[in-house]
């Protein structure tokens, strides 16, 4: 547990301290951004795999996949991180905090993106499938050259949204001691017993990234049209 001393009345903002810790917090921010980028990459790939698995004709594949997706979406990311970090070593797989974080983010958001892919694929008109059959295209070619190229652009705004959402979740790495903006802030605060400046700087730097990112995603939505998953 993190324990912070209670300041007496007469607290005032310590600008000198705030500027002193700025580099450390900013470096934490960078780690969070990196974790987000790696995590979204895993999530985008996993999402597509899950979406395709969910369309399998075999119930044996479809049902467990659907259940896993529902289960991961219905449980907190934090507990999933703990599960990966503490349980997997029992099965011989010990992951570093950073890898735990990005794998956890990737799996959690992979289930969300799989819904977006599913909607995107479903939205490709029937006629495209029928034309592919009429032209005797193989299944692989149909998927790779006809269906996915039409499905994926519509998924982009949703993926953008999940990227921003993932960034907002990524500081959770502090729970498994993965480097990030929150770890930097809490470390600093417990070292100096001055929590206000670290957490405020953290908040401001965080907004400095998340707000422009949100605006950019809204631009993407307008550009590519909005498909709700």
């Amino acid at each position: 547990m993190l324990v912070f001393a209670q300041a007496s009345n007469g607290w005032s903002w310590d600008m000198e301290y705030a500027l002193e810790i700025l580099p450390a917090i900013a470096s934490g921010l960078l780690q969070t951004v990196v974790a987000t980028l790696v995590g979204i990459t895993i999530g985008m790939v996993l999402g597509l795999v899950l979406a395709l698995l969910r369309r399998s004709r075999l119930k044996l594949i479809r049902w467990p996949t659907s259940f896993i997706i529902e289960f991961v979406r219905g449980t907190p990311l934090l507990v999933q991180l703990f599960f990966i970090f503490y349980v997997l070593p029992n099965f011989g797989l010990t992951l570093s905090p950073f890898v735990t974080l990005v794998v956890g983010l990737g799996i959690h958001y992979g289930t969300y993106t799989s819904e977006s892919y599913r909607a995107g694929i479903d939205n490709v008109e029937r006629g495209q499938w029928e034309a592919s059959t009429a032209l005797n295209l193989s299944s692989t070619t149909t998927w790779a050259r006809v269906i996915l190229p039409q499905a994926i652009p519509t998924v982009i705004p949703a993926l953008g949204n999940y990227l921003v959402a993932m960034f907002k979740d990524a500081p959770i790495g502090v729970a498994v001691a993965a480097g990030g903006i929150l770890l930097a802030a809490t470390s600093e605060a417990s070292r100096s017993f001055q929590p206000v400046e670290p957490f405020t700087v953290m908040g401001l730097l965080f907004l400095a990234v998340s707000l422009p990112a949100a605006l950019f995603v809204r631009y993407l939505e307008r550009r590519y049209g909005y498909q709700r998953a």
Binding site: L2, L78, V87, D169, P195, M202, F206
Partner: protein
Amino acid sequence: MLNANQFQSFLDGAWLTVQVFLLAALLGTILSMIFGIMGLSENRFWRALARVYVEVARGASAIVLIFFAAFAIPIILGIPPRIFAAAITALGVNMGGYGAEVVRTGIQSVPRGQTEASIALNLTVTDRLRHIVLPQAVVVMIPPYGSLSIEVMKGTALVSLVGLADLTNRAQNLRIQRPVIEAAGGTAPSSVVIFGTALVMYFLMSQVIALFYRWLERRVGGRWYKERG
């Protein structure tokens, strides 16, 4: 497997989770309605204020807000720290940002013709809101509000990081206790069981919420909503 005491501890933790969730959801709903309707004001100032709240409340993620509220705000305000209240406030404010958009777009989705017909029938503005606009807006709002509620419930797991004894916190504690239990000669439940049980309990909670919202939609929507084109 968990023994009776341990399971009871988990249930106690789950109960705290439920309390945090319900109180945060209450605050979040109130803020959603206030800022959602504010965002529809004819007055530019109110609209701008609502916009600022929505962007900041959403842009600062729940975890950032929770830490800031729990550790920085008490010092800034010169009051003793109250983690429970801080966590609920942070989660509620964050939820309000998303909920306000759901409320605003829900009301905007009611066609203008409904307002015009109400004017043509000389209804007062209050009657128009109460009998025509809100009943139609609410039905539209229910599904996204349901998803949002589940996200908030999952977000309550974060309060374990600031010291509240919720379900996640109990699971973590039990894991930490394992060596102690073993040393005292007992058999401690494995990590799989500990975190697996926690995940299942969260999953059940999210399913209950989902069922509630599905029931609510049927109840409020009724025949007219399902049949409309």
